[in-house]
Amino acid sequence: MRCLKNILVLSLAFCLGAWASSSLSASGTSSPGETTILKAADVTAMLFPERVFYQGKTAPTELRNTGGVRFADGAYFLAGLVDSSGYSTAVRSKYQAYLLTEVPVQFGGQEVKAGAYGAGFVSGFFVVTDIGAHDLLRVPSVHDMAIKRPIPLQVLAGSVAGTYRLYRGRDYVEFRRGE
């Protein structure tokens, strides 16, 4: 009888585990221990807000133009385009995307801590601002003429392991998880 009970418990645990696993797969996330690049289809409204606050206003995001990285320990780095058309020209020029990161990340060797930021590609540079529109870092970006069929925003693997590229069309900046 005790043996049967153990089998039932184990079966239940297995089923729950399988259910949990299938739920993760369905949402496009990976199992723990594996770093995964996230495509827009993976970034649902559960992960990324549909409206974000920046310089005294909220603006809508474009969930179809999002991407990110889910690191092996489950921490997220997420990026999504924002419709900043309601902002002044000066703000719009550098506020194109919203970044959410649960861990420090480095762009061109400069680090931003976990938090929410504005970002944009401006004349050959990648600019990160705080949500008050104050510049935090400015690093050179790369214009990739080789990429075929670019899309508005995506994250791809970087040139070496552990690095990633945040693309806005053909422009990209390479980043890695910080310390």
Partner: protein
């Protein structure tokens, strides 16, 4: 970690799986114009003069407030058509109209003008039974019942309308009887095109819808941060307003239609602001495909699966986004063969601060954005709408024509660089894959500012060149008569289907002249929300004879050899050339050029 391009593209959320879009404001990339090259100094033989008033086109197209739009429904405007409704061989004119929030002025209506064959037109709207006032969007033309008379389908915010041409100068609204009446929530019908997607000889119908709109829920200008443009309050939308869906209706062959959007895979895409719709065989597999210009979202390319279904591959095939991977504010579509390689290329118009885009077709339905190499990114000042890839000067090299106009009539007071009314654009082909923008050199009508929307191309005076009909917001239309100089030759091709649908919509025609070959397609809608002369016009330069290949919608291929230039050839499927109606010139008495 490696992501192939195909895997990546297939995983993108441009289909059914994306999250909600809650952005706002017309799409604009804020790009700088490409530097212009030095003027070529070549003469341009086309010369456009606006003769609308002399022709009797004096009634304004009413559309929203002339000075201040509060809702996006006031700003998108409508289209027009060249249609030979009485089969006399002369292009008549059909003009849509809108209304105003507080009611349209007396006399506002859609209008049908009969061609008097002397450069003037007579308003026959009432007699024809085509009076209607409402928020009209687009018109597409096709003989859906194969009775030999072209019918009309018009889209609206509200009920769309199917007008059967009775063949006696009148039309009957058969929307309900045909099964096209919408019993559900109000839709904003946008683009439309007749298409025989199953090649059974009966024209089916595709309708794009722009977005979900009502006057109760849409905020007023400046109501929040999303109803602003460059920091100035403007009408809200399209971004921030809910998406709508595209619809496909199958022709039952008995005068009725059945909606097949879901079964055909059309309704899978539902996160796009659909506008102008185009039906053409873009991958040259003998089956018609559908391209939809979409505002502020990826444009759609529905590829025909040959089994009654479609697959959407706009991004995969390079016409969903531009070269830089950016969404654009797709408004109008031109289709033609700019580089004379025998394949149908596409040209799509966009918002101010962005370039229109020329997509080069590789013949298999894959496209490259060649805007920059074609020197077409030289003017980003204006919001662009109606367009066509048409040979304006009959030199044998198709040119590009564009009409423009702001959607924000009040904004010029604060930002004078965005005028409410703006000129037309003519890009003359230099014959080497590049273009040169012309202004007054193409005639006074090109530089006259208007807030234009739809335009249609056709030869209203049957003189062997391409004229242009233009919808202007809250003004009478423009009728740009092409007073061509020089002695270039031309040929027009009119197709009549027998096994194919009678309008031959979906046919692809190759005309060989000299060492050149040019592709054109018979379409039901193009430009912006408009329908052009169904007689395909080919400029030939100095060539005096042509060979013609006709790829009929039925799948049949017909070839004609050594056809004389400077005439309209009417070709009936399976029967070859038959006498043309209404055309004064014959191959025995060639009329050279298009001189007035």
């Amino acid at each position: 970690m490696k992501i192939t391009r195909r895997a990546l593209l297939l995983s993108l959320p441009f289909g059914a799986s994306a999250g909600k879009l809650l952005a706002q404001g017309m799409g604009s990339r804020r790009v700088k114009a490409q530097p212009k090259l030095p003027a070529s100094g070549r003469p341009f033989n086309a010369h456009f003069v606006d003769v609308a008033r002399e022709a009797g086109l004096i009634s304004p197209v009413i559309y929203g407030s002339p000075t201040q739009d509060d809702y996006i429904i006031e700003s998108d405007g409508c289209g027009c058509a060249f249609i030979d409704y009485d089969n006399d061989g002369w292009m008549d004119i059909f003009l849509l109209t809108g209304t105003r929030i507080n009611g349209a002025p007396p006399g506002t209506t859609n209008r049908l003008y009969r061609n008097n064959r002397d450069g003037t037109f007579t308003d026959v709207t009432e007699k024809a039974g085509l009076q209607r006032v409402g928020w009209a969007s687009s018109v597409c033309v096709g003989d859906y019942n194969n009775d030999g008379f072209e019918d009309l389908f018009c889209t609206y915010w509200g009920q769309n309308a199917l007008y059967r041409n009775n063949g006696d100068g009148t039309f009957t609204d058969l929307t309900k009887q045909a099964g096209l009446w919408n019993e559900g929530p109000t839709r904003w019908g946008a683009g439309c095109t007749f298409i025989d997607y199953d090649r059974n000889g009966h024209l089916d119908l595709f309708v794009s819808n722009y977005l979900q709109f009502d006057f109760v829920h849409v905020p007023k200008p400046g109501a929040d941060v999303n109803c602003n443009w460059k920091g100035i309050p403007v009408e809200c939308g399209p971004r921030g307003l809910p998406f709508s869906r595209q619809h496909l209706y199958h022709n039952n062959g008995d005068g009725t239609f059945t909606e097949v959007s879901e079964r055909a895979g059309i309704s899978k895409t539902h996160e796009n602001y659909g506008m102008t719709a185009l039906c053409a065989d873009l991958d040259e597999d003998g089956w018609p495909d559908i391209y939809v210009a979409c505002d502020s979202t990826p444009s759609l390319l529905f590829m025909n699966n040959h089994d009654g279904t479609f697959r959407e591959e706009g991004v995969l095939r390079g016409v969903g986004l531009n070269e830089d991977g950016m969404e654009q504010a797709g408004m109008g579509i031109g289709v033609g063969d700019y580089n004379l390689d025998g394949h149908l290329d596409l040209y799509k118009t966009h918002f101010a601060d962005d370039t229109n885009v020329l997509y080069r077709n590789d013949g298999k339905g894959f496209f490259d954005d060649v805007t920059t190499e074609a020197h077409l990114g030289v003017d980003t000042r204006f919001t662009c709408w109606g367009t066509g890839i048409v040979d304006l000067d009959n030199d044998g090299f198709p040119d590009i024509f564009v009409v423009t106009g702001s959607v924000y009539p009040r904004i010029e007071r604060q930002l004078p660089q965005y005028p409410s009314k703006s000129p037309r654009q003519v890009y003359r082909s230099l014959g080497n894959g590049t273009f040169e923008e012309l202004a007054a050199q193409a005639g006074p009508a090109i530089v006259e500012p208007h807030s234009s929307r739809g335009c249609a191309f056709g030869d209203f005076d049957n003189d062997g060149d391409v004229d242009v009909l233009v919808v202007n917001m809250n003004e009478p239309p423009s009728l740009l008569r092409n007073d061509m100089r020089g002695s270039n030759h031309w040929i027009k091709v009119k197709l009549i289907g027998t096994k194919s649908n009678r309008s031959a919509i979906g046919a692809r025609v190759l005309v060989h002249y000299g060492k050149k070959v040019q592709a054109q397609a018979v379409v039901s809608q193009s430009s912006y929300y408009s329908a052009s002369d169904s007689r395909l016009h080919f400029g030939l330069g100095n060539e005096e004879t042509v060979d013609i290949d006709i790829y009929w919608p039925s799948g049949a291929l017909e070839k004609l050899k050594a056809v004389a230039a400077n005439q309209l050839v009417t070709i009936k499927e399976g029967a070859g050339i038959i006498p043309s109606k209404g055309w004064p010139a014959t191959k025995e008495t060639p009329k050279v050029g298009g001189n007035k």
